[in-house]
Point group: C2
Amino acid sequence: MADTDVKELTTDDAPVKARGLEGVIALESKLSSIDGQKGELIYRGYDINDLAEGACYEEVVYLLANGELPTQEELDDLRQQLRNERVLPTPIMDILRNVPDDAHPMAVLQTTVSALGQYDAEANDMNEAANRRKAVRILAQIPTLIASFDRLRKGKEPISPLDHGSMAYNFLYMLNGEEPGEAAERIFDVCLVLHADHGLNASTFTGRVIGSTLSDMYSAIPGSIGALKGPLHGGANREVMRMLLEIDEQGADPAEYVKQKLAEGERVMGFGHRVYKTMDPRAAILRDMVKELSEKEGEMKWYEYSMAILETMREDKGIDPNVDFFSASTYYQLGLDPDLFTPIFALSRTAGWTAHLLEQWADNRLIRPRAEYVGPKDRTFVPLSER
Amino acid sequence: MADTDVKELTTDDAPVKARGLEGVIALESKLSSIDGQKGELIYRGYDINDLAEGACYEEVVYLLANGELPTQEELDDLRQQLRNERVLPTPIMDILRNVPDDAHPMAVLQTTVSALGQYDAEANDMNEAANRRKAVRILAQIPTLIASFDRLRKGKEPISPLDHGSMAYNFLYMLNGEEPGEAAERIFDVCLVLHADHGLNASTFTGRVIGSTLSDMYSAIPGSIGALKGPLHGGANREVMRMLLEIDEQGADPAEYVKQKLAEGERVMGFGHRVYKTMDPRAAILRDMVKELSEKEGEMKWYEYSMAILETMREDKGIDPNVDFFSASTYYQLGLDPDLFTPIFALSRTAGWTAHLLEQWADNRLIRPRAEYVGPKDRTFVPLSER
């Protein structure tokens, strides 16, 4: 989309109606750019392929928040700040201990991130420096929240976070109780890089709408988490895995399985995207990673099911997979529970959510569209006794 | 705004850019309509003046959710459902007991509404009937959450909800420990009616964006609460009271106080509205109520300060007060703490939030605008060791 094609609405113009806000530009951003025709995603001017290959997640966190890739010193400093904030306040751990074992992990994440604000003395301080510190705290504590919840529901004690290692390394350690191998850490780290930001998706947009009222970061991020939970957004990766597991359990032919779903008018999760008209570049990176991981572990079936589904969807519907499609089998091959896939997406996207909030507040404007009223008009009120 | 003036965007059109989404219609709604030129607000076709005079809050809850005013039998049934759901699950009361006394009431409300979902077996059931039951539960429990939090932070035991009485009556009882007089109940009930819905404001819009991913009600409402907390939205009524109290403490002349604020380039809260170009009809209703309440109690100063500020703002800036301006002194005269004003706004608006979610899900479409990327392009990645 060339900038010259964009029509800017002035107060003199007639209102524009766009259901779902498709085709509407709500704000300007310097964070990430998606070229749906070319299948291109950039963060702060850097191509996602370069970042996935050459940068770790913490570098991307720094890049999104500051606009530049960090020097070694800046990166070390950020890493140390993140490590310093990994431990949860005791009352938050108490909430996690009391949550029912069958609670939805995204619901628990929403509740506890919201609760974290009550133990942060800077929660309502809207100074930029305070907001940057809060962004680091939230990002550092989300992995501990997810891992602690997962262990508690399995009847295990939470594992205290390490005071060393990357976010990817520490998270896998807190989840499994053993330090991860280099390959697992690297793959997981790349997944975090790939999911860190993606334009004005529904959860990021939610956060910016909340932030635009000058509400605080601990109030906005739970809104983003709530949006990401939805199956039309982050919840899709869990649904993709559910499908792959169902195919495996039934011993079904993946292509036939998908054809039948389509014939029944059902949605096949992990395909299509409002913005990409070609293959999502993140899906391509993940596809290659799943293949490599599968070959290494000598377990090709998830990759094979995925490729068979991909071919069928391309042939029958002409649509390509999105990031959720291959992240499902990647996480599964890493030994992660399917219902943690969306919380892990949240973990990664917190980098984008918090950076978008900083950007929103640097030049704030309330985000408030209108609804078109299509209901009855001029009704005469009838008192209760006469109804 | 006549419908004929609206331009509907098609996929062939160039993207439209509208910062803050001003002038953009994001969806169709049958819930409420605002005529900013005439200063008119209607719910489901009924004028807000008629509803404030003739209907109680529970009738409005029914109207917003169902599109029709209830018969006596339908109203009795809804009232009974609401009464049945007033008691909080024990683990929620435990969370409230552990919250720091100085926590922000809106933050606590967000955390606990999110947590309620973990104790509702229907939390993730997206069936319409289940969603309607959840709307009733959330609406019934929010007053108990607010009143219990307020008592606990004051070192008092929470008061169990009554199994009779209106929402207004029961809430004031749980807060103060004594049954309210008829006048207080009536005034408070009118306040609930006035704040129940208001088009696609930022908190309602937030809820619909979250809901549009097919996330659930317990995930969406906390997002709305987060948005309402902001001083550019629901947080304004608390700021208005802060100003009135400051004027009183300083013994300042209200008109001079406001002139000085304006001269210093500060914002005077409770004035102006993106939609109303004349006086907000809710402000007019509340103004008359504050006057009556003040005369009855023989304490005119808050009304007098307010009117002096109103005149000054009209003369100097040509802008009218909005609903927050007079709700502040109304709630204060009813003996409510200023930092509960926004939670009470949330209590009332939950009627609108939940009805908007039901409407969203009845004909869902993902709400996802775009951002215009204005950052750097085509940057060459430099590895960490070379930075």
